[in-house]
């Protein structure tokens, strides 16, 4: 029995529970007044999915003796896991379960896509983080901040939808469940602040080790990482000054996360101490 619960099996379970949560949320959307138990069921599915995903990542971490961030598969799984964790903290402040539905769909998509692309998990950096716990903290915080930015993308999308519905007087259906404009504005501000803070700490930790061995990080990774951090920092400062608000802020957050996801490629390909090993294809 224990042999059946491999890391990938646990991650599959997690992804399928996220998917089930998404479908339950969709059923709720078809009814303006869905049964109260539906939201509870959605939360149970999401917590269950997150728990299995955690166990799967934990097993991989044990096997790799470090943070499970050894390849694109693990990074994408970790981003989904982080977004769900942040949702558990901020989701309760939202009316209805729409953010839960969005997060479930987002996490299910990331988790399932990563599981369905075997190439992402064929090789894994062995002790890729160089046995240095600080570098692991650096990597984990950086990827976690991507989870926060992922959730920010979802709330930005919700803000665009809410704005569209109010401007165009289309208030029923999906739009009925959206949080208020002000709530979305506030949560977006907090999420960008949280994401930038986490990424700043991550980069500070990384920088402290980088100055001791400047050649350990190549220029493309440095440029891309700093670029993402700087872009989000500028967004945060503009929001703080009231120069970038409402719909424009939401659009910028959406576009920026797309670019940030694209940056994962160069960052992943240029790791400290990267020594790929070929895993058995599954």
């Amino acid at each position: 029995m224990a042999s059946l619960l491999t890391d990938r099996a646990l991650l599959w379970l997690g992804a399928l529970l996220y998917l089930a949560g998404f479908l339950v949320g969709l059923i709720g959307l078809t009814r303006r007044h869905s049964p109260a138990g539906l939201r509870t069921m959605l939360n149970i599915l999401l917590i269950g999915g997150w728990g299995f995903q955690w166990l799967g990542l934990y097993q991989r971490g044990l096997a790799g003796r470090g943070c499970p961030l050894g390849n694109t598969f693990e990074i994408v799984q970790f981003v989904a896991w982080s977004a769900m964790l942040v949702y558990f903290f901020v989701g309760s402040t939202f009316r209805g379960s729409l953010l839960g539905l969005f997060t479930a769909g987002y996490a299910a998509t990331l988790a399932l896509v990563s599981l369905l692309i075997p190439q992402w998990d064929l090789v894994r950096g062995q002790k890729l983080l160089g046995n240095n716990p600080w570098i692991e903290v650096h990597a984990a915080l950086a990827v976690f901040s991507y989870g926060v930015f992922g959730l920010l993308t979802l709330t930005s999308l919700m803000q665009l939808l809410q704005n569209w519905s109010l401007k165009n007087k289309r208030l029923n259906g999906l739009f009925w469940f959206l949080p208020s404009v002000v709530q979305l504005e506030q949560i977006n501000y907090r999420l960008v602040l949280l994401g930038v803070t986490l990424l700043s700490i991550s980069l500070s930790v990384g920088a402290a080790w980088w100055v001791r061995n400047i050649e350990s990080v190549h220029l493309p990774k440095l440029m891309v990482t700093m670029g993402v951090w700087l872009a989000y920092l500028i967004v945060l400062l503009l929001r703080w000054r009231g120069r970038l608000v409402s719909v424009r802020f939401a659009w910028v957050c959406l576009i920026l996360f797309g670019l940030a996801l694209l940056s994962l490629g160069p960052v992943n390909a240029d790791r400290h101490g990267y020594q790929p090993v070929v895993l058995t294809p599954r």
């Binding site: 009814r31 109010l166 208030l171 002000v182 409402s246």
Partner: protein, 350 residues
């Protein structure tokens, strides 16, 4: 000779059965309600009763040992309200047993209300039942029926859309404000014009916790009068630009032939508070707010037609839920009736 089973009854009038003139006569103040209850309590055939007395209905629910109770109940109503026999005959409906339960369920669920799906009636029913309970007018039959009624009403509220969406102009505006601002307690409302519709809208906002109200009018005296009525501050239209920058919601209802709130005026106002949305409610005809303001980011403009259309959509949605509610209540009535019938056959009921 076999004993007659007791009868669960509902006897009364509502906006469905009585004209406004008759309803005015039937409306009971506390003293007359008490007098009616006293008279009903003296009818030997009535063993349990409760009186539901609202602006739109006067209904007696009770248990009678024989049909002889009903003329006596009519007489009691006539004596207390002053209605003639002819008026009562045309307005008062008598429902018995299964039908009485079904009617009470429908009333509690808001299906029988003038404003379909409203919730106030449930509170009024609870109050009527509490009063009856406190005076020992109820017994095992009515206690059971009312408890089941409240459960049924709660089930309907939770599992159907009968109460979803607002169906009056003012409450639709409040609902929209909730979608923009969430909590309304800290919201600043600016009312332009001292018209009745603007002040009614303010009342709807106040019922949801809004306290910061400012009234602007062409003459300060009118503004002050309206502000005193609404419990807010007053200013003249000359101070409008500064007030716009402070307001979260602007409800305008002047009789001006030109736009009072132009795009330029609103644009200048929101520049001073870019992160906060502005909700413009144009309640005037001809319109007070330049439609071009709707193009501004973070500004949401709704005029009378928009609000009326939303109210009509919501009402249509509520009406679409009626059949579902009726089916649920019919099942619950069918489930409850055998238990009530058993109690009515028991010796204590008569």
């Amino acid at each position: 000779m076999a004993s007659h089973p007791a009868i669960l009854f509902q006897l009364g009038a509502s906006h469905h059965t009585a004209s406004l003139a008759v309803r005015e006569k039937l409306a009971l103040d506390d003293a007359r309600a008490s007098a009616l209850a006293t008279r009903v309590g003296q009818i030997a055939e009535v063993s349990e009763f409760a009186l539901v007395n609202t602006c739109n209905r006067v209904e007696l629910y009770g248990v009678a040992s024989s049909p002889a109770a009903f003329p006596a109940l009519h007489a009691a109503l006539s004596a207390v309200t002053g209605c003639t026999t002819a008026e009562l005959d045309s307005a008062v409906i008598l429902r018995q047993n299964h039908a009485a339960i079904g009617h009470l369920f429908a009333v509690a669920a808001g299906l029988d209300s003038q404003i379909l799906g409203e919730t106030e009636i449930l509170g009024q029913l609870k109050q009527a039942y509490d009063t009856a309970l406190a005076h020992h007018w109820t017994g095992p039959v009515l206690n059971r029926v009312f408890q089941k009624t409240f459960q049924a009403a709660k089930h309907i509220r939770t599992n159907t859309g009968i109460g979803a969406g607002q169906i009056s102009i003012a409450t639709v505006a409040v609902d929209l404000a909730g979608r923009i601002f969430g909590e309304l307690a800290q919201i600043k409302i600016l009312v332009v014009g001292a018209g009745d519709i603007g002040l009614k809208t303010v009342q709807a906002f106040q019922s949801r916790g809004a306290t910061a109200i400012t009234v602007a009018s062409r003459t300060l005296a009118k503004a002050e009068e309206a502000a005193a009525h609404a419990g807010g501050w007053a200013l003249s239209l000359a101070d409008l630009p500064a007030a716009i920058a402070e307001a979260d919601i602007i409800a305008s209802s002047t009789s001006s032939a030109d736009f009072i709130l132009t795009r330029e005026l609103i644009e200048a106002g929101i520049k001073r508070r870019p992160a906060r949305p502005l909700f413009l409610i144009d309640l005037a005809l001809p319109r007070d707010v330049d439609p071009a303001t709707a193009e501004l980011a973070n500004v949401f403009l709704y005029n009378l037609d928009d609000l009326a259309e939303i109210a009509a959509e919501n009402l249509a949605q509520r009406e679409a839920e009626v059949a579902k509610c009726q089916a649920i209540l019919a099942d619950r009535t069918a489930a409850l009736w055998p238990q009530v019938a058993h109690s009515l056959n028991a010796p204590h009921a008569s």
